[in-house]
């Protein structure tokens, strides 16, 4: 890769959302913003190798995209309002102070994650407009048809325009609930990267985990006081720190107790722990992501799995279950309970939620492991079979298959 290629890649990563956001504000139309931004990057690909990388790539791209947008509106102006066009052309495009531009990116994220859009649409639109991922990339990430993803994004942009979904950061009273939706989108993106589904997909999609972390950092920079934003970032960093230890050379998932802790990324862990400590120091009651991050922090504090403070982990899960008594939380709590009170107590808790999680591979995998530890091999084997059938991640399927085949029946 040449320096120019690197510069274009870096500009795309760092400037895409700024360019789209600036255009969306000026033209009030996500379609125009996105297509013009794409055109500006296409111009950069042909021009920068000849002319050199401009001193301020972001400003160059925004100016170029603005011109492209005006060209586009001129071309389409036959059926458009002439007055609007005249007004647009008279805008002499003053340079934006940096703070305002950052605020624009935040507006863009909140627009893409508006609660009037379905969760799937919010994910696709955020990855496209804010993350700069192409439609085929998004389709691949979520095992969807390209045409379906393309239509979803087109429909979303049309709805934003027709129903007049405002292009703004929600008011103070709406902010906490709206941030929750944004964080939900980013957590989905991260999880899909961390435990990628699909038989012909890499078990870990680092492009997605990195994108989720980058966008969460962006929100963190803009809402530094929000505990759940800090919590989600900490959770992602602490989880991502274990990435390389999680998949064996043969492509099999390595469970937490078998991971080589020496290969965990100490830098990411330190940053995650720092965020968790910062939140604890505020004395404010933690939300879901902060508790999950704290659980991750306890796991990553132990040098050896035998040093793990399970009492602390179960206490944190109890706290989480009070906030969110969902079957998935109960299931994860039971895994920790097994370490503290033994597999029999844990199995009783898991069996109690069986009717709600019958279609969830992790439920069967957890049962299989508990039954194995109780010496109930036949039942364990059946549970592994069900887990294997439902698991979508290649590394996880390999791991479950080996564990099943080790059973003495």
């Amino acid at each position: 890769m040449t320096d120019i290629d690197d510069a274009i890649t870096a500009a795309h990563r760092d400037e895409w959302a700024r360019v789209v956001a600036a255009l969306a504000r000026r033209f009030g139309d996500l379609d125009i913003a996105e297509e013009s931004a794409a055109e500006a990057f296409a111009v950069a690909v042909t021009r920068w190798p000849q002319d050199g990388v401009p001193p301020n790539p972001g400003a160059w791209l925004t100016t170029t995209a603005n011109r492209k947008a005006i060209d586009r509106i001129r071309r389409e102006s036959k059926r458009d309002d002439k007055h609007k066009e005249a007004q647009l052309l008279s805008d002499d495009d003053p340079p934006e102070p940096l703070g305002v531009i950052d605020d624009e990116r935040l507006r863009l994220i909140f627009t893409c994650c508006h609660p009037a859009l379905s969760m799937e649409t919010r994910v696709a639109l955020t990855l496209r407009m804010v993350g700069g991922l192409t439609v085929p990339e998004i389709a691949r990430a979520f095992l969807a048809q390209e045409s379906a993803v393309g239509q979803r994004i087109t429909r979303a942009k049309a709805k934003i325009k027709a129903a007049r979904i405002p292009y703004r950061v929600p008011s103070a009273e709406d902010l906490p609930t709206r941030v929750a939706g944004v964080l939900g989108v980013l957590f989905l993106v991260f999880n899909e990267g961390y435990l990628a589904t699909g038989s012909d997909t890499d078990p870990v999609r680092q492009d997605l985990t990195n994108e989720a972390i980058r966008l969460t950092r962006l929100i963190r920079g803009l809402l530094p006081e929000d505990g759940e934003v800090a919590g989600l970032l900490a959770l992602m960093l602490i989880t991502d720190a274990r990435r390389t230890a999680r998949i064996s050379a043969s492509g099999e998932l390595v469970s937490l107790d078998e991971q080589d802790r020496g290969s965990w990324d100490t830098g990411l862990i330190a940053e995650g722990h720092q965020l968790v400590r910062e939140r604890l120091a505020t004395g404010m009651p933690p939300g879901r992501y902060q508790i999950l991050a704290a659980i991750g922090a306890v796991h990553t504090s132990a040098r050896d799995v035998r040093d793990t403070d399970w009492t602390q982990i179960v206490a944190l899960y109890n706290q989480l279950a009070r906030l969110d008594p969902s079957p998935i939380v109960i299931l994860n709590r039971a895994i920790a309970v097994a370490e503290l009170d033994g597999p029999e107590v844990a199995l009783a808790a898991v069996d109690a939620i069986g009717d709600k999680l019958a279609g969830y591979h992790a439920y069967h995998a957890t049962r299989a492991d508990l039954l194995r530890r109780l010496g109930r091999s036949k039942e364990s084997r059946d549970a592994y079979d069900q887990a294997i059938e439902l698991a979508g991640n290649t590394a996880e399927t390999a791991y479950l298959t080996r564990r099943r085949d080790q059973l003495s029946v």
């Binding site: 009037a116 027709a162 129903a163 007049r164 979904i165 405002p166 929600p170 709406d174």
Partner: protein
Amino acid sequence: MQYMFSVIDDKTNANGPDVMAEITAFNDRLAELGHLVFAGGLDAPGSATVIDNRHGEPMLTDGPFVESKEYLAGFWIIEAPDLDVALKLAAEGSKVCRAKLEVRPFLVG
């Protein structure tokens, strides 16, 4: 920008006088704030007649255009600057009339 709130109902008995009083109070508030364009409740679907004059001769059919469990029980047409404002008003409307609302923008231009 105008939006229509369709009241989606799935029961046959009408709301009592206390509910009607709440709806009237809500409508008064909408009017005061300049949001109200028009609001009205509709009689039961059974009172509807469908007319089709696309083929030269009006054909009348007794009953609503679609038979379904849910039906249109009334509507508001309101004026709001954007969807966030419309959704806030619709949330109140749903509460006072004890029904789901569909929020839909009018076609512009």
